[in-house]
Amino acid sequence: MKQFAERMGTLGLIACGIILVVVLGALLAPIIAPYDPTIGSVTQRYQGMSAEHWFGTDQAGRDIFSRLVWGARSSLTGPLIVVVITAIFGTTIALTAVWFGGFVDSALSRVLDLLFAFPNLLLAMLAIAVFGPSLTTAALALAVAYIPYSARVVRSMAMRERNLPYIRSPELQGIPGAVITVRHLLPNVAPLIVTGATINFGFAMIELAALSFLGLGVQPPEADWGLMVSNGQQSLLNGYPAESVLAGLSIVITVAAVGYVGERLGGRAAAGRKA
């Protein structure tokens, strides 16, 4: 614990605190949020900050604080789906390519190059156009778009490890490739996978928010930060900036916190390798 604190530094600990608050908020939303995030009253619309409505209400008279708290759920689960799928498939593809090398490696690498050629959001929109807008579709589509990034990074590191004696010598002992890959290679690239996942988390969060903003992700009246930024445009024009600004801030702060912690973990992984 003390080591962890040292490695994170003051800023890192603050970032961890922010992440903790957001995660707790998402988990405990039913307890924390004072109002139903999807039901408002027209008579209550556009209220400023008050004791009843801490951050005021939106154009439909819904409590903004409650929507922010509930919104943390979809805003976190979306990127989580993306990074988990990306890490699993990216790593599998990378390690397969590295182990077999030669033709398999070239073939897989070309497929990844092909995926690279599509802008992430475009690929996601394409999927949404086919399967209809929803958080799941958007997250799955983004995951597919992110796989090449994750695979490329893991592949390059695994490639280096592949030729080191501790990987080569079990091969000479006649130990099957799958066993060597899972037992010896995977644990040694694992820190990189974790770091990559935290960095991807930030990107995924922003892009999912963008999709929700465009109406292609989370659907109204559900609460989602990206959706709230988009929803708040009308209020913004009417002189009530709270909804857009607060939702936007939530996204920025969370992404920054996750990114910083990821960077620290990455530095830790790199330092661990040198030792």
């Binding site: 080191l164 004696p165 501790y166 010598s169 079990p170 000479l172 002992q173 006649g174 130990i175 099957p176």
Partner: protein, 265 residues
Amino acid sequence: MLDITTLSLTIGPDRQILRDVSLSVAAGEAVGLVGESGSGKSMTLRSILQIEPTGSEVTGSITLDDVDVRALRGEELRRMRANDVSMIAQNPHAVLNPVLPVERYLIEGMHDAQGQPTRTARLRAGELLEQVGIDAVDRVLRSYPHQLSGGMLQRVVIAGAIAGKPRLMLADEPTTALDVTTQAEVMAILDECRHELGMAMLFVTHDLDLAAAVCDRIAVMKDGEIVEIGLPEQLRDNPQHPYTRTLMESRPAGITWTLEGDTTP
């Protein structure tokens, strides 16, 4: 048993590493490959297991009991490495995964490579360590590679190498990274295990005297070619090739290898 016939290895357009190397090792025989760095002795060894550097072009043939080992692929290649031929490399610290205890290394070799049940492998691991002259078997089994000395670890590697009772042992300077007294001990253990199991051995070293002490025949290599093959006494008393003569003259005078665990002045 092992027949290497006109083996040549080229890297790129003009770097010829091996030139028409022909060599045979009979069952149970120990053959030394002696030469200076870059003479191609290790590369000969590596060609047998198909671990020559990528991009090298190999011609000629290598057969093990009439099976063309260069033609083996995939599962057949794996089986050959697991059951028929084992290799001992120079630096044992590079061979073992640093984050797993020694026991896992031995069990993995026996279970995952040779298909013995884990329980048998666990029991055998201790026996093998006793066989290579380790007393504190349990302590060593639980140790991580960095907690053991090079000599101790090389014994562990030898234990792993003889676990599958292979027909052929490839030893690539197995004692070069060790200090002199440990060298003699490890060499003695290797020799003893070899005789017990009746394994053939191809022993790569730059030390002619060491090769003379443990090998039945010695091949001298220079610039990718075998310049002379003969019995150790022949090479010592009546070297034919000028290079062999140079090698004989350049060794430290008055030191002869014995295998009782020490060097006698």
